[in-house]
Amino acid sequence: MLKRKMLRDLMENKLAYFACLVIITIGLMLYTSVNIVMDNLYEARDTFYEEARFADGFARISGMPAAHVGRLASLEGVEEIEGRLVKDVRVLYPDAERNVYLRLVSLPGEKSNPINTPLLMGGSPLNPDGRELWVNPAFFEAQELALGDEIPLLVEGRSVPFTIVGTAQSPEFVYAMRTGRELYPMPETFGIAYLPFSVMKTLFREQDRVNDLIFLLQPGYSFAEVEERLKPRLENYGLISIFPRENQASNMILDMELQGLEASATAMPLLFLGIAGVILYILLKRMVEQQRGQIGTLKAFGYTDRELVLHYLSYALLLGFCGGILGGFLGIWLSFSFTEMYAMFFQLPGLGSQLSYKYVGLGIILSFIFSALAGYFGCRASLKLQPAEAMRPAAPPPGRRTRLEVWQFYWNLLTVQGKMATRNLFRNKQRSIFTLIGIMFAFSMMATTWYFHSVSDLLIFDQFEKVQTHDVQVNFIRPLSLKEMERELGRFPGVRRLEPMLEAPATLKHRWLEKDTIILGLPHDAFLYNILTDKGERVDPPRGGVVLAQRLADELSARVGSELYLESYWIKDPLRVKVVGVIPQYLGSNAYMEIDALNNLLGLGSMATSALLAMEQEAIPHLYNHYREAEPVAAVEESGALLDTFDELMESFGYMQYVFAVFGFIIGFAIIYNSSIVSLSERKRELASLKVMGMTPGEVLQVLTFEQWLVSILGMLAGIPFTLMLMHAISQALANDLYSIPVRVEAGLYIVALLGTAFSILVAQWTIARHLRGLSLVEVLKERD
């Protein structure tokens, strides 16, 4: 019978419990789906890394005879080491609008299961003598290739045709980017191709030399130990960089993504369940207060405390259970599309959704714990009642002056309705505080969502309108002297301005910290690439010392005035450089110097690795065509093209932001609606009396809404610093060498969040207004409090 009572009680306030259910469901949906996706990713990654024997360490060198590689295998701690050739070449598509690049990676022909074995996904094995390639599946698809297709590659200035005989995926290029500048994989313009070393070595001037080493560690040895032994041996071969698996670009990004997922797999469900828990607590507490008569009667019948607590707990548990089941299954469903989305970015063979009920079960337990706690604290009061006492109505709430009334000035501004609302807020401090916190969350969720929605525009705008103001960047195959560059490009039709840029890979060290980066050398009057302070002021590239990107400075824990050591493969001994400035840099993380000074420092004379061009839009295609097959240009990059693809990516993420905006809305609505429902039931009599006095339903509603707005405004104010904290935390969590997200606060952001929150409050109040209109005066006033 009590079950039936429960169901009817639930139906009476169905919208309130429903809102609560929705929040539980969202929390568990996120919990289940994110955990499943995480499991899928971990599983696919670990299996793939294991099967493909993903390298523990990587080294780049200028060149080393292939025969010498074997000698390194005897070093202590090295299990296996392989040398290979890695080279970027251009694909000669006659009428492609953009340059398309392939990274050629040589495979040892003689070994059956080499390190970083590419997994053949389709097609046939490579012929050790023929001009055959495997390409990565993403590239294969994006270029709409078919097995047997022939593609011409520009190798050392010659066009060499290759036949595609298969698609293969290596653990090294799960997240395949050409340079750090792209931010994300663009298979439309960049792919990986595998070919036997025996074939590749005949194409390049290196001949029998390798320029890249990969190795596995013996069990029990750390990378640092091996690095120490390997480094001196590689110095003679022009060591460019040596780094462990953790710093390998593709793996690093995958790791960061997994860390991000792990954080949200914990934080989001807790947030939602917490809010649902408090709502449940308040609803149940009120119900117990309201039903004291019934509780007294039931106790008088002989129902035990245990039965009664179980009865009231069952409301919460039913909700927790339904939310758990619903959220769990929705989560499973969602995990499929989530996994598919990840499969678009991470090329992990075997990444698929597994039907896993584990998290549904765990989710139900989690939601049970939350609802049981909320339920128990909500209905605990019913235990204390003695039957006789329970059947008597509770003592009326005493009116009290509030502390606010000390401020006569404010107090006198209020209408009597305002005074009533203010005192009500203090009458139920607990609930007011909860409402305040809830509104704070809703507000911050909307503000943060909106911020990350707009920040990409901000980032791009800054980067391309203020920092990289050039139209085209031309990268050279090898460093060119400034004279050569001028000769090559200076008189190209349509070029309005030409500036050299020297990109020097280097390791910067500060105390025990070190960081690989690229130092950008820019002319002192650089106009096409600007170094800007956080206030947008231009900084001249320094002749003495370096300017660091904020993130780089943070990682080196360096400040203006710090002394750094600079190592580069162009110089023998480390140099000392002083930090003369720190600037924010949102895309990339570089150090900057004046180009001549950098050339001098590195003993290069007068070199540039790229040229930045301002040029007529119509002339850009000619530039492409002209350098399609010609030395010394390796790549022509148009700023606009990058911008377009970046926009596309942001749009594909766009719907997530709307989802979170909707979550924020639901939270705002549920909190205001529930606090209204509870206030309404507590104060039915008061409100009915006001109606009898001749107040319109609108005016009666104002009594409720005035206090809600008061709390909500305070909540939104509290939301401002909270949003800042949240944004700092998120931006710190998301920052990496490729991009960092600035926290910049603009009034517009808060206005949007304010409108969003206000909208959710208004919708809740509108729903309450309907209840209020239905309030029967006769019945309410007839009964005694």
Partner: protein, 242 residues
């Protein structure tokens, strides 16, 4: 029964064949079964009857809190039975003052603020502090309801109704929760309102003693008006006894 000079008195309220029934599950409960009456401006009417006789139902209808199931009800020729919720609110706001058995004060407003609350919404209110003074609670203005006795609370409720300066004061068992002496105090205020301001007062009670101070008495029984009679010489509230 006709009172002297009745022809010249203005009818403020008129009911014709008023009926009210409620559907309680499968049972149809008839609360009013055809009531006809006229109430004149400035008179003091007492409605007597046992519980369940329909007197509260009638009062609720007159007060604009409830609609008749059938029949007609006019306030100064204005058909209340046809009025929508908006019009009824307007009517409650400007024409009627209501006093309940259980006071129904706002617990978190002081005595004065409770009165001000009503004054705020009225078109032509009296001064709140003065009215509170008149009901003898000038010195209790800053107290909250929980700090006032039952009689004091009811006097605040009276002040709250009077301050709107309504045409009709409707009282549902105003002394029902009070002891004799405090009950008399409240009755004195009602009489004063009628005499000083010339307004209509209607009191519902099952306390037959109060009928002695009325101009006219309605007797209700089984949802019908059983008897209506005028009182030749209404006594002063102090002389009422029960």
């Amino acid at each position: 029964m006709k009172r002297q000079g009745e022809e010249t008195m203005k009818v403020i309220l008129e009911g014709k064949g008023l009926m009210k029934w409620y559907q309680m599950g499968e049972v149809k409960v008839e609360a009013l079964r055809g009531v006809d009456f006229q109430i004149f401006e400035g008179e003091f009417v007492v409605v007597l009857g046992p519980s369940g006789s329909g007197k509260s139902t009638m009062l609720n209808m007159i007060g604009g809190m409830d609609q008749a199931s059938a029949g007609e009800l006019y306030y100064l020729q204005e058909p209340l039975h046809l009025a929508d919720e908006k019009k009824l609110t307007f009517y409650r706001r400007h024409a009627v003052g209501f006093i309940f058995q259980f006071y129904n004060l706002m617990p978190n407003l002081t005595a004065l603020e409770n009165v001000q609350l009503a004054a705020e919404i009225a078109a032509n209110p009296l001064d709140a502090a003065t009215v509170l003074e008149e009901v003898g609670l000038g010195d209790r203005a800053g107290h909250f309801p929980s700090q006032l006795s039952g009689g004091e609370q009811q006097r605040v409720a009276v002040a709250r109704s009077i301050v709107k300066n309504p045409e009709i004061l409707l009282c549902d068992e105003p002394t029902g929760a009070l002891d004799f002496t405090t009950g008399i105090q409240v009755l004195k205020l009602l009489k004063k309102f009628q005499q000083v301001y010339g307004k209509t007062v209607m009191v519902i009670t099952h306390n037959a003693g109060i009928a002695d101070m009325a101009d006219r008495v309605f007797h209700m029984k089984d949802g019908k008006l059983a008897k209506v009679y005028g009182v030749e010489k209404p006594v002063a509230p102090e002389e009422v006894s029960w």
